[in-house]
Symmetry: C2
Subunit: 214 residues, 2 copies
């Protein structure tokens, strides 16, 4: 599948690019700065012996059948506004957690209740937002030898959710569908909880769903 | 410890009463209707060979060092208003999930963002609310032979949280502290997600935190 990463030169983006390229997908690493996108793609290709391309964020949108947006919450609204026209008809995966430093271990709901509800409102009916990957360590994503001991919950409209669920399995993670986009409130707000647990217990906390049918 | 259950004659309340009484705590089953509280306590005592008492909800508040409120969200605000004076100085555990039928598998935030934030606002500074036990099946609680394959996340002020964590371990569950009461948003809103997973996958979904230190 053709996957475009908006804001793809960060730690989370590069881990996703690496794992999806290794799984055989056609990955494009986008950045605000086209040269940084090209350079990051070349660096990953050389380091890991994989094939992928890079450029600016609009290039990532043009390339991707599925577009992944991985930016800090402070850049969330302007980034979605800037790609609005470029993602028409596409599935857009929002992995943003609306953390507000310095209180990153307490839930602070954004104005729209969830970042993913805000991005869907910005994009309008032209694109379909799926929220996913809020609880996965970028360090673990970037280490292809790491085997995950946690699940990915994802929510959004059914068809788009199923498309993204398959891509998540290709990262080496179990994908569990978690309902409509309203449920992004739950997924996003579990991240401060996991950050609290990490600090209190010295953990690298993840979520696992138990009680799934054998 | 002396534990008072407000709304304790429902399925969740009776499961908690049973397990805590078996663990040696002094349990009082409260109900709006005093006779129902007395009858439920007598029924549990006879059926399971345990000792516990019953009566009305204010009796449960008077009895408990820790007071557990287990009512549907529709009764949440009036119940907390009715016990306000009776729980002064106590730890109050709110296990309410603000589900709004019929859409119980989608997050619908209450006006105060979380039921537990609403109950703390109703009680004021006189009592300390801890939010917990949102993800545990009442059927499993009520079956003393059932061994849980999930964790209990709980949040609130630190000392109160630690008190409640010990009680939760006495139910046969692992308690994991999850931060301040603001994080009740995450805990409460995970319940619609688990209900969605139950329906979609035919699961009896629970949450397990992975990555805890050995």
């Amino acid at each position: 599948m053709r996957i475009g990463l908006v804001g793809g030169t960060g730690r989370e983006g590069t881990g996703l690019a690496l794992r999806w390229a290794r799984a055989g997908h056609e990955v494009f690493v986008g950045s605000r700065d086209s040269e940084r996108g090209v350079a990051k793609a070349a660096e990953l290709a050389a380091e890991h012996g994989i094939t992928l391309s890079g450029g600016d964020n609009l290039g990532a949108c043009a390339h991707g059948e599925v577009v992944i947006v991985t930016v800090p919450y402070s850049a969330h609204a302007p980034t979605f506004a800037s790609i609005r026209e470029a993602v028409t008809g596409k599935v857009v995966v929002d992995i943003t957690v609306p953390l507000k430093p310095p209180k990153v271990r307490s839930v602070q709901l954004p104005a729209g209740s969830a970042a993913a509800l805000e991005s869907q409102a910005i994009l309008g009916d032209g694109a379909t937002v799926v929220a996913a990957l809020h609880h996965i360590s970028s360090e673990h994503l970037g280490d292809p030898a790491h085997e995950f001991d946690c699940d990915v919950l994802l929510c959004g409209e059914k068809d788009a959710r199923e498309t993204v669920a398959k891509l998540i399995e290709d990262l080496g993670l179990r994908a569990i569908e978690a309902g409509t986009l309203e449920n992004a409130v739950a997924l996003e707000s579990m991240t401060p909880v996991l950050l609290f647990i990490n600090k209190k217990y010295g953990a690298t906390a993840g979520l696992r769903i138990t009680g799934m049918p054998g």
